[in-house]
């Protein structure tokens, strides 16, 4: 019990579309241990992004409970949710998720700035991760000058720089070619192991979910 990172109990989420109610998640229950690396698979519209949003405290479920690392995130207001994410969650999105007004260094440093890390420590951590992911030469570049794969590796670095407990990735390689995708997945694997992250990665690409030890599949909002 002490090692449980994620406890989902009878989780449901509905959306309204005009007069119709769409069931995005239907009574889902599962648990994950700390350090688990899970592929969340399923076709488009199966509820993958909704589940990631709920796990990231970006929205509240209509019923059920989400306990992350012992904290019930259903009970959090917007500010508490933001604070929880700052410290505990890292996000990787499909693409275009870097701030164009910040340099690569600043983009990666952003989560550390939010948790008020000292400048010296920021410098140390960011330089290390830049070197680890072979991004050091782009330190002072702005995102628009990077390739898709390079941007996504920067996004990976940003997602883990503050050592979150939970890494949520939403189709991180969907828009990349095979070579770039491999580099990004290698980076995620490397950092997830190094930082002992619990990771849930939404994907419908077999090359991606076959790399991960655990797989959860969603169909029409139900876990099968």
């Amino acid at each position: 019990m002490a090692n449980l990172a994620v406890q989902i109990d009878q989780l449901s989420r509905f959306y309204k579309s005009g007069k119709n109610q769409i069931t995005a998640l239907d009574n889902i229950t599962f648990e994950l241990e700390t350090g688990a690396q899970v592929a969340l698979t399923g076709p488009s519209g199966s509820g993958k992004t909704t589940l990631l949003s709920l796990l990231g405290a970006l929205e509240h479920p209509d019923s059920g409970q989400i306990i992350l690392f012992g904290q019930n995130i259903n009970l959090m207001n917007e500010r508490q949710g933001a604070d929880f994410r700052r410290h505990n969650v890292g996000f990787i999105f499909q693409d275009d998720a870097l701030m164009p007004e910040l340099t690569v260094f600043e983009n990666i440093a952003l989560p550390l700035i939010l948790i008020k890390t000292t400048a010296k420590e920021i410098e140390r951590r960011v330089q290390k991760i830049l070197a680890d992911l072979d991004l050091a030469k782009f330190s002072q570049s702005f995102p628009p000058s990077l390739s898709g794969g390079e941007k996504q590796r920067v996004a990976v670095a940003r997602a883990v720089i503050h050592r979150p407990k939970l890494l949520l990735a939403d189709e991180p390689t969907a828009n990349l070619d095979r070579q770039a995708a491999t580099l990004v997945l290698d980076a995620i694997d490397k950092l997830a192991v190094e930082y002992n992250l619990t990771m849930i990665m939404a994907t419908h690409d077999p090359r991606v979910y076959n790399r991960l030890p655990t797989r959860l599949e969603l169909i029409d909002g139900k876990l099968i």
């Binding site: 929205e59 500010r79 933001a82 700052r86 275009d96 007004e101 952003l110 939010l114 939403d170």
Partner: protein
């Protein structure tokens, strides 16, 4: 905090096209207001200058009624004292008394003013608006307004009788003037002070009419003057003597204030629009920031800071531009004689010289800055309040 300010500044710099267009709009608006404000000040200056130049001066020191010899003694003493005031351009001693002028044809109540013709002709328009005859040549004769002269059916060389409260005098009409201001041409007549000194023997009101150098602080001069005056003597500013002109100036300022407000409101909508579009463009980025853990008030701060930076730079540029245009224009002036030629006698000067005042330089700047920041509140709230998940699904 500093990070978010830097973020906002970078955002302005990176979205160059949006920034330049917004900045240009605000700067142009501020520059326009500065120039229009300077023109308004110039119009007021010209209006006041023309109005006071007719007769009243910028400041009048009014004395009580004294027998003629004491009035002259007091005037002479006052002139000596006032000549030490560097702010004063012209000092015009005057005596005045009411009289009934009669001719063979009719009579007319008139305010007689005894003046120093050599000083007066340099400053007031009466001596330059002689229709027939001469202007108090050799300090002799009576100068009548055209309307009064018509009523009395007199011409230069004719004699008229002045009936005062205590004395009756005969005097020859030396000239007839016309300022094309009916009340003035009907009720004012002039004699020379030198003639008054030898001819009259009655109690008169004395006054010193003062013309100040341009941009002088009249209230300050009045304060200094008050310290030099005897009891019973009073200082009056032009605004007390010509309240209708003062009212016109106020009206002009009020109209300008309304125009400034309208332009500022339009600027505000422009800023709100530009920022809202910019926020909508960046919904995804704001959602990502929120997902990372940025709080809505930090996004609010970013947008507000962007608005502040843009409006500050635009307001400064607009002020510099407006001031430069006004500065260049101030030398040449704006010639309105085509539009004021209906009354050539009245218009002492038809050229408007735009003038910058601290209020008209800084008010548009401050108001544009304030309006811009206020206008940013709504887009800033929108940036912070948009649900993350709505945007996430579009990622």
């Amino acid at each position: 905090m500093i990070f978010w300010l830097r973020f906002a500044l970078r955002s302005c710099l990176r979205r160059r096209r949006r920034t330049i267009i917004t900045l240009a709009g605000i700067a142009f608006g501020v520059a326009t207001l500065v120039v229009l404000g300077a023109i308004m000040v110039g119009v007021n200056d010209t209006m006041v200058k023309n109005a006071v130049a007719i007769h009243s001066g910028n400041i009048v020191v009014k004395g009580t009624s004294l027998p003629l010899p004491q009035a002259f003694t007091r005037i002479d003493k006052l002139i000596v004292e006032l000549e030490s005031f560097v702010e004063l351009e012209t000092i015009l001693p005057r005596l005045h008394f009411p009289a009934l002028i009669t001719s063979d044809h009719d009579n007319s109540p008139i305010n007689i003013v005894a003046v120093d013709p050599r000083r007066e002709i340099l400053q007031t328009p009466v001596g330059k608006r002689i229709v027939v005859g001469t202007y108090l040549e050799n300090d002799e004769g009576l100068l009548l307004g055209e309307v009064a002269a018509k009523k009395l059916a007199v011409k230069p060389g004719d004699k008229v009788t002045l009936i005062t409260s205590t004395e009756v005098y005969e005097i020859k009409v030396s000239g007839i003037f016309s300022l094309a201001i009916d009340a003035f041409d009907r009720s004012m007549a002039f004699i020379a002070l030198a003639q008054a000194r030898t001819m009259l023997n009655l109690a008169v009101n004395y006054e010193i009419t003062l013309f100040t150098r341009s941009q002088s602080d009249l209230a300050q001069i009045a304060k200094k003057l008050n310290r030099k005056l005897d009891s019973g003597e009073e200082v009056h500013l032009w605004s007390e003597i010509l309240p209708e002109v003062a009212q016109l100036v106020k009206l002009n300022e009020f109209s300008m204030a309304i125009m400034v407000m309208l332009v500022i409101i339009i600027l505000g909508f422009g800023v709100a629009n530009a920022l809202l579009i910019s926020v909508m463009d960046r919904y995804r980025h704001f959602a990502i920031l929120k997902a990372i853990g940025v709080r809505p008030h930090e996004l609010f701060l970013v947008i507000m800071a962007e608005a502040f930076f843009m409006c500050l730079v635009a307001a400064i540029l607009g002020t510099i531009l407006g001031s430069a245009v006004t500065f260049l224009w101030a030398d040449y002036g704006l010639d309105l004689s085509r539009y004021t030629s209906a009354n050539p006698h009245f218009s002492v000067n038809s050229i408007i010289y735009p003038r910058l005042t601290p209020t008209m330089v800084f008010a548009p700047q401050m108001m544009a800055l304030g309006a811009g920041v206020l206008a940013a509140i709504w887009p800033a709230l929108v940036a912070g309040r948009r649900p993350i998940t709505q945007v996430m699904r579009g990622l």
